[in-house]
Amino acid sequence: MPMPESFKEYTELVCQQLRWKKARSIIKQEIEAHLCDQRDALMKNGMDEDSANRESIRQMGDAVEIGMELDRVHRPRPAWEMFALTALLAFIGIFIKIFLTYDSNTPMQPIYSAVAVLLGTGCMLGAYFLDFTLIGKYPLLIYFGAALSVVALCLVSGQRMLNGKYYYAQYVLLLYPLAFAALLYRLHGKKYTGLFLALAGVGLLSFCCFLVPSVGGLAITVVSALALMIVAAAADWFSTGRARSFIFIGVVTLIAAILLLLSLMTSGGLTARIYAAFNPWSDPMGAGWQSIIVRELVGGARFIGRGSTGEYSTGLSIPCMNSDFLLTWLIHNVGWIAFIVIMTIFAAFLFCGFRLCFKQKNMLGKLVSFAVMLILTLQTISYVATNLGFALIYSMSLPLVSYGNTATIVNMALIGVMLSTFRTGSLVKDSTLGHQTTRPRRLRWRNGELTISFKRHIAS
């Protein structure tokens, strides 16, 4: 039975009382369904349609009053603690650059960093107020856009590389876990096809990482993809059953690990790099020299104050020490106290961030927020490991704190996307985003019978 105008007017009036517009669609749908249920029940008891419509509205109560009550319940919830911790980390980064690691040879560097933080704040706020459900509406555009932009940047850059890498392309790699989250979201209910397409998705992104080439970007992409697939499998996102999805992911991970091991055994350069990460003294003039200096500086550090240097670190210093090895620099020159303070704030940031990720009710918010947290966590872990003398994978930066202006802007924009999910995620329902719900099939062939469905799929 079609919905009468009076029901639409009633729900409109209820929704007008809600200041948070995003909450309106869900409430509108629920109130309309209630009115229709009420009307149908009254008509079943013998009431005519017009009277049933009027009585349903009467029983519902005053529209303005209900709207105001619902307005009190539905308010955007900014994650203030995450804002505060982001601002604190960015402030610490600027403070260190201006007051501790200032180099008169590069006087403009702290100013550039401050500008990067300002630009990053703009990007963060822009992403925060932008509707993150756009990722769910255009997942393939986002996925292929991210993948192809790296290819395009590599092609446009030609032979211009820095430290053997396409400089700007490597920062786009930071977006890859988010792009993969968008792809995973699109693969809802696709069963094994979805799982295989997800694998193909990781493969394409990994290929793009090799183009840059960036081992750090590859590690972030692959580890995040694995973690996101586990998050999706835990919710039976592929509709294969949780256990089957987990077994699939486990088998694929095992095969990938064996292939990695085989490639390491045949690649001398990679084997030397891994060996040097565990025992840098095995190659003191080659792959291990930076780690040896770092380990000496860290080993000779005091709790507060400047520490001592060792055999290697007395005469040698690492280039870009105050950017790529900022934590080592701080541990050596300021003491372990600086490291403990920064790590405590990072731990609080990661704890609060992951706690909010787990609280996300819809899959899009969960995948997007997890993707961003994984990007930030993996960068932090690899940076800290390198700065403590375990240089297996070099990180692009210590998010928000170390030098790396482009990385700062990208990381802050990603934090903005994540904060947007925390702010409005409670109201987003996966089924309201349209394409990813399993629509009823119009044509169905079963037991020799062809069924044609003429039922319209009603979008909210």
Binding site: Q29, E32, H34, A41, E69
Partner: protein, 115 residues
């Protein structure tokens, strides 16, 4: 017999949680079920129910999901959470103690006022 509405006000949360403890329900179904189980003593208004349901969901005592049941529009079902079940247990214990005390006084039990 007419019942003072204020008696229901404080217990609505408990009643809603109890209804959902048995099965997941949508809003209209809850009103009907509550009226039926209480012999039409508790006639909950939809205008009271929905703000309450949304606020309980925000407090993570309930969660909701949509279910398409071949009706013209999908219905939003509510499900009690683990936290909600815990609160229901506490509220039920509180109610049992409270109603027991009221009954004892009303049925002429021990009165400390005259002791």
């Amino acid at each position: 017999m007419a019942i003072d509405k204020s008696l229901l006000t404080g217990s609505t949360t408990m009643l809603i949680l109890k209804l959902l403890d048995g099965q997941d329900m949508y809003g209209y179904q809850m009103i009907e079920e509550l009226a039926m189980r209480s012999d039409h003593t508790f006639e909950l208004k939809a205008g009271t129910l929905y703000p309450l349901l949304h606020s309980l969901e925000k407090k993570e005592l309930l969660c909701s999901y949509e279910k398409d049941e071949n009706t013209q529009r999908p219905r939003r079902y509510y499900q009690i959470s683990h936290k909600g079940k815990k609160l229901l247990g506490e509220k039920q214990a509180e109610w049992t103690a409270y109603s027991g005390a009221i009954n004892r006084v009303m049925q002429g039990g021990v009165s400390f006022a005259n002791a």
